[in-house]
């Protein structure tokens, strides 16, 4: 499975979205399921999936799916 698909699945699982829900355009708090509590679950799910530890500044800055892709790049995960 590609890194992109793994990230999409992490979003869907952590935010309790349907398996086929589009997530590439998601933005923090635009979707009712992506609130501050869900955000911590989402970060944990991404960390688990890619075996990384994300710094607090990046946790706070992870405001969209695109931003998650960019941040993961900082930790050596090339999401394509």
């Amino acid at each position: 499975m590609s890194e992109l698909q793994r990230l999409r699945d992490a979003f869907r699982t952590a935010l309790d979205l349907p398996a086929d829900a589009p997530v590439d355009d998601l933005r923090y708090q635009d979707n009712e399921k992506w609130d501050s509590l869900a955000h911590m679950s989402l970060v944990a799910a991404i960390e688990d999936e890619f075996s990384v530890m994300i710094d607090t500044d990046d946790v706070i800055g992870m405001s969209s799916f695109d931003e998650a892709v960019r941040i993961l790049g900082k930790y050596g995960v090339d999401v394509k």
Binding site: D48, D55, T56
Partner: protein, 243 residues
């Protein structure tokens, strides 16, 4: 194997706590302000109890220190079950005789340092099946002591952090408690004069100073499964000083 991170583990309460946890089979990540004490503790406890122990040094007032500690736990063990936030500094002095630098340092280490450590560790902790945090507060922070107002205020911040974090992290399966030591025979007590020490001992129901092991045993209980329904509590370990 469960993993515990202990800050301020070079000596005193932190060192005694690391010893108790190693005795119980925990792998360890130990922190000290200077490198030598924590590194020596890690080496000694690993040899004595057959656990894996690693260490790192740094000023806990710098958020980068706790960030590096959690990263060390992640890279070495991939997990964290127990966090003991013990690193602290002490300074006594009448309110009107306490300079700006002392006030800033007390809050930077005792209050901000504790918050940084908990903040940086919480996501890794939340992945553990039964995670537990214990912070070292102080009876000064719960009851107040003349001549230690600023230190007491910095430890009162630890109490607030403990209770709020317990509420916030409980739903994620993380228990958060604190110990509030009374007068413990550690290096920190050196800042009190002899008359002050004698006065404190005289006010203690059990008639003695506490030991680091007295506190470590309570911390070991709080992180254990025996305390599985205990969270948000500040447990006095003071020999009856606050009665």
């Amino acid at each position: 194997m469960s993993v515990a991170l202990v800050t301020g583990a070079s000596r005193g309460i932190g060192r005694a706590t690391a010893h108790r946890l190693a005795e119980q089979g925990y792998d360890l990540v130990l922190h000290g302000h200077g490198g030598a004490g924590a590194a020596e503790a890690a080496e000694s406890l690993a040899a004595k109890f057959g656990v894996t122990a690693v260490s790192a040094a740094g000023d806990i007032a710098d958020p980068g220190t706790s960030k590096a500690l959690v990263r060390l736990a992640f890279e070495t063990f991939k997990r964290l079950d127990v966090l003991v936030i013990n690193a602290g500094t002490h300074a006594a002095g009448m309110l009107g005789m306490t300079d700006d630098a002392t006030i800033e340092r007390l809050f930077a280490v005792n209050a901000a340092g504790a918050a940084y450590t908990l903040q940086n560790a919480v996501r890794l902790l939340a992945r553990a099946p039964q995670a537990s945090v214990v912070l070292t507060a102080s009876i000064t922070g719960t009851h107040g002591v003349a001549g230690q107002a600023v230190y007491a205020a910095s430890k009162a911040a630890v109490v607030g952090l403990t209770r709020s974090a317990a509420k916030e992290l409980g739903p994620r399966g993380v228990r958060v408690n604190a110990v509030a030591p009374g007068f413990i025979a550690t290096d920190m007590l050196d800042t009190l004069d002899e008359a002050g020490r004698a006065e404190r001992v005289a006010g203690t129901a059990l008639g003695r100073l506490g030991t680091a092991e007295d506190v470590a045993d309570v911390i070991a209980f709080l992180v254990s499964d025996q305390a599985r329904f205990v969270t948000g509590q500040v447990i006095g370990v003071d020999g009856g000083l606050t009665l």
